[in-house]
């Protein structure tokens, strides 16, 4: 039962990863006893499971995911939301308003209008129906302030880091509140624009170098260095 790659080596679609009694994990497929890569990414072997951590992919909705989306259409009984996926999501008015409403009397644009950003959770989705969203939980709802960063959805786990090490470090260092949408959209809200910019810069850096090792430490150094630089500039301008 040979494997043909080393861990964390780059594979391209069609590369033969393993032959024998293995289980095909994410971004791989099985033909007979052979497992091939289906996307470009880094190979990962875990016991009997062979998977590829994709370097490029798009977001596919999953029930329970937190996503950040843009309202693209206001209908009679709800909104259509672009969640950066191949499918548009639906957000029902009854879910947002929490009370009965009449389309004749209530104007939905007063609650959410085209172009508004929302943090929501996917409550249902399958192959035949577009995903449905809900904002009925604390922390969800319309976004009123902050910065939005868009990255490849597959890199969200890297931004979180092992047991959340990366994201908690960024939060601590910049003092920003960060919401990660599983669809690759990130909301950063901080006390000042500088702090938000610092967090944005760190996230962009992670996206660029997601497949390298020792990233958390490097990002930490980067943020600290950047902070120092800014303090120096501030002091000079005071003097």
């Amino acid at each position: 039962m040979p494997t043909f790659f080393e861990r964390r080596q780059i594979a391209t679609p069609g590369d033969l990863l393993a032959d024998g009694d293995y289980i095909a994990g994410e971004n791989t497929y099985k033909e007979g006893s052979k497992i091939y890569a289906a996307r470009i990414g880094l190979v990962e072997y875990e016991d009997k499971k062979v998977s590829v951590v994709a370097l490029r992919a798009f977001y596919i909705p999953r029930v329970g995911d937190t996503v950040i989306g843009t309202v693209v259409e206001v209908g009679f009984s709800g909104w259509t939301v672009d969640i950066n996926a191949p499918y548009l999501a639906i957000l029902r008015a009854s879910d947002v308003l929490n009370r009965p409403f009449k389309p004749q009397r209530n104007d939905l644009t007063e609650v959410l209008d085209v172009g508004d950003l929302v943090v929501a959770k996917i409550v249902s989705y399958d192959r035949t129906h577009n995903p449905q969203l809900s904002v009925n939980e604390p922390g969800l709802g319309k976004i009123t302030r902050g910065q939005i960063v868009k990255i490849t959805p597959t890199k969200i786990p890297r931004v979180i880091g092992k047991k959340g090490s990366m994201i908690s470090m960024i939060k601590q260092e910049t003092g920003c509140h960060i919401i990660l949408g599983h669809n690759g959209i990130i909301l950063i809200t901080g006390k000042s624009l500088e702090n938000e910019e610092l967090a944005m810069m760190a996230i962009h850096k992670i996206e660029e170098e997601s497949h390298t090792t020792g990233l958390t430490d490097r990002i930490l150094q980067l943020i600290r260095k950047e902070k120092e630089k800014r303090e120096v500039v501030e002091n000079e301008s005071k003097n």
């Binding site: 780059i10 391209t12 679609p13 069609g14 590369d15 033969l16 971004n27 497929y29 033909e31 091939y36 289906a38 996307r39 470009i40 994709a54 370097l55 490029r56 992919a57 798009f58 596919i60 191949p86 499918y87 548009l88 192959r127 035949t128 490849t152 597959t154 660029e208 170098e209 497949h211 390298t212």
Partner: protein, 244 residues
């Protein structure tokens, strides 16, 4: 042109551009050249210069064209007006419409179309400069653009042509050889799976010659495949090397 006594293969057995019969034209591939597209690739194969862009998967408009059980793949092959000696009208010609279909059908078997029902992927192939076997070069570029867009694929699709010029079976025809030569066999191939996804023939070959041409084209495909993989990895490896 065929009236000229110019020989396509000289006494030494070399072709017009000095290639041996089983030699490819020089190839240069770059992946991710367009930032607006979800995936893109640029390829130069000899004098061929082709750009491929992929958008999607996305919701299909008009909606009634969407399929409930699979993804729709749309492909547009287009030659720029300046891509050939005499200005080509930018309107899609019969040939371009046909080639769009041929390219679509050559890359479709590689994509897991059943994974994402009710969606569509758009593939745009723009020929900036044409010098024979553009359909093959386009397929090579289009499959790279798809891989760059993160579309799950069974394998990369590579294409290469072979043909008969002055009684010799040659690899990777260029324009002059295509026009004057007696046969042209474009082949698209998935190297890891050993599957042919496109096989055409224009001209006359004996069964033996045909077999020889197909085998030669597959050999060519395998060589291009190595370059294709290298180009795809290069986009990410460059970042990695700087760090280490």
């Amino acid at each position: 042109m065929s009236q000229k006594t110019e020989k396509l293969i000289d006494k030494k057995g070399l072709r017009l551009d000095g290639r041996k019969p089983d030699e490819l034209r020089p190839i240069k591939i770059e992946v991710g050249v367009l930032s607006n597209a979800d995936g893109s690739a640029y390829i130069e194969q000899g004098k061929n210069k082709i750009l491929a862009a992929v958008y999607g998967p996305k919701e299909l408009h008009p909606k009634h064209m969407a399929l409930p059980d699979r993804m729709v793949l749309r492909c547009r092959y287009h030659m720029a007006p300046f891509s050939v000696q005499e200005r080509k009208s930018p309107a899609p010609s019969r040939r371009e419409i046909e080639l769009s279909k041929v390219i679509r059908e050559a890359i479709e078997p590689a994509i897991f179309v059943e994974y994402y029902p009710r969606t569509a992927i758009d593939v745009f192939v723009e020929v900036l400069q044409a010098d024979g076997s553009t359909r093959c070069t386009s397929i090579t570029a289009a499959s790279l653009a798809l891989a760059d867009a993160g579309v799950p694929m069974r394998d990369l699709v590579v294409a290469c042509s072979a043909g008969k010029v002055e009684d010799t079976i040659v690899l990777d025809l260029m324009d002059a050889e295509d026009k004057v030569g007696s046969a042209d066999v474009p082949v698209a191939y998935m190297p890891n799976l050993g599957v042919i996804t496109l096989l055409q023939m224009d001209g006359i070959l004996t069964p033996e010659e045909f077999e020889k041409a197909v085998n030669l084209a597959i050999e060519g495909c395998k060589k291009i495949y190595a370059l294709q993989k290298e180009a795809l990895k290069a986009k990410y490896v460059s970042v990695k090397e700087v760090e280490e």
